[in-house]
Amino acid sequence: MNPWLSQHRAALGLALRRLWATPFNTLLSLLAIGIALTLPAFGYVALDNLRELGRSASGVQQISLFMEVGATKAEVAAIENRLQALSTAKITFVPRDEALKRLKKSEEMTEIVASLPRNPLPDAFIVDPADTAPATLEALRQEMAGWPKVAHVQLDSAWVKRFDAFLRLGKLAVLMLAGLFGAGLVAVTFNTIRLQVMAQAAEIEVARMIGATDAFIRRPFYYFGALQGALGGLLAALLVLGALHLLATPIGELAALYGGSFTLHAPEGSEVMLLASLGALLGWLGAQLSVSLSLRSFD
């Protein structure tokens, strides 16, 4: 095995042994890191579920396109072709006769509709865009409004904008929480490593005298910080999954009371790995800061 690989393997082994050597301290540190990462991680998952809920809420992000009353079948077909060219959208055509039939079914409207000399309703299309960002929806609405024989394009943009603003606010809050608790994770690792450097002072002094490079001395501490952070990240993921499991039934019951159904989405494997990697990165950063500062006393 080449010396570089051999030294990394030895440093990783040493870091694992140090984690295992003081199980109680390790557990406390992991809990502190895990809880610090749980709050922003849970916030992220909650926002993700809310976004999904907003998307699935019936009709809230639909665009209604009304043709002019006098539009011919050919003109309607031309508009349909244009809509189909928007490959990301789902389109439903509502012919004017069908619209009138629906109106007649409404008890309050029966008499009014019967008194009408002819069908005043236009042909219409209901468009479900794939991209529901407010700016995209608005751009789409404006484009459709410019098409020939289109009388009116309706988008409940106020609702969409409010919902989007709420999501953006939530995202910002999660980012702020993540920054705050990330700094907490760095601080926890910083302190743990500082205590370790103090405990290993004799070894560091001897190792330096017999030819150890700074990298050799720092390496096990970096591995320790990264491992502790990664394990803390995995613990946070477990806590989030546990919380989602507990919330799944009450949220399902609540959705049923509103006549709908909603299932909470748990983080995917890649997101769990991302959380562990983020923990590892922050742990490494804490170790880097701590070792750099602590080793100055040996110079």
């Binding site: 095995m1 080449n2 010396p3 570089w4 051999s6 030294q7 030895a10 004799a202 070894e203 002094e205 001897v206 190792a207 330096r208 005298m209 017999i210 030819g211 150890a212 490079t213 700074d214 050799f216």
Partner: protein, 216 residues
């Protein structure tokens, strides 16, 4: 091998531990640095081992000028030396074998090779039977022999010792001297700072005598 020219070491506060000393040590020589307490022996050992830097003058070891060395290059220079201290600087949280393996891990040897070479070094100093013992369980003489095993395990070109027999009884001190003599006989350059008369007699004139930081 080791060439010092007008070497001076002044500590912050103005205390001059070494003043304008020059000497040369050839490869394979065994040289003593002697002098009373405070004469500058330990300072000279630290300068040769790059633990400290000279204030002025030059110190060339194996063709490298240590005075002009970058900080990052110092660890690699130190690997040429086998360092032995009066207080041994052993690690008491691990076995004798693990203590001897430390320089090999630093050099990047695999665990298997490190064990093999550390055991050979322990055998050389007569401590193979105590490889699993914690250094705290060893006598003063054994601890010093363990420190020697750690110093020689990486096959250094120079064995550099600071008062290696200061705290030992006569018999243990004689064992240590004989060990150094063995390494000298196989071609290792040996530099020992000591005021022990037995060493002076053994070296027969190969002595750098210091007095208040000056070579006399």
């Amino acid at each position: 091998m080791i060439v010092a020219s007008n070497l001076t070491k002044r500590y912050p506060g103005g205390y001059e531990a070494l003043r304008d000393i020059s000497f040369s040590i050839d490869a394979g020589e065994m040289v003593l640095i002697t002098g009373h307490s405070g004469a500058g022996k330990t300072t000279l050992v630290k300068l040769i081992a790059s633990i400290e830097r000279p204030t002025s003058g030059s110190l060339v070891v194996n063709g490298q000028n240590l005075s002009a060395l970058r900080r990052s290059a110092i660890p690699y220079v130190r690997r040429h030396f086998g360092l032995i201290f009066q207080d041994q600087k052993l690690l008491f949280d691990r076995s004798a074998l693990d203590n001897v393996m430390l320089p090999l891990h630093i050099a990047g040897l695999s665990h298997k090779d490190a064990i093999r070479r550390a055991q050979a070094a322990l055998d050389k100093v007569g401590l193979l039977a105590r490889e699993k013992a914690n250094p705290i369980a060893l006598s003063g003489g054994e601890q010093q022999r363990l420190a020697i095993a750690r110093a020689v395990v990486n096959r250094p070109t120079v064995l550099l010792a600071d008062e290696p027999t200061a705290n030992l009884d006569q018999e243990s001190a004689q064992d240590i001297l004989e060990l150094f003599a063995d390494f000298h006989r196989v071609g290792v350059t040996v530099v020992v700072a000591t005021h022990d008369q037995a060493w002076v007699e053994y070296c027969q004139g190969n002595v750098l005598r210091l007095d208040h930081g000056r070579l006399i």
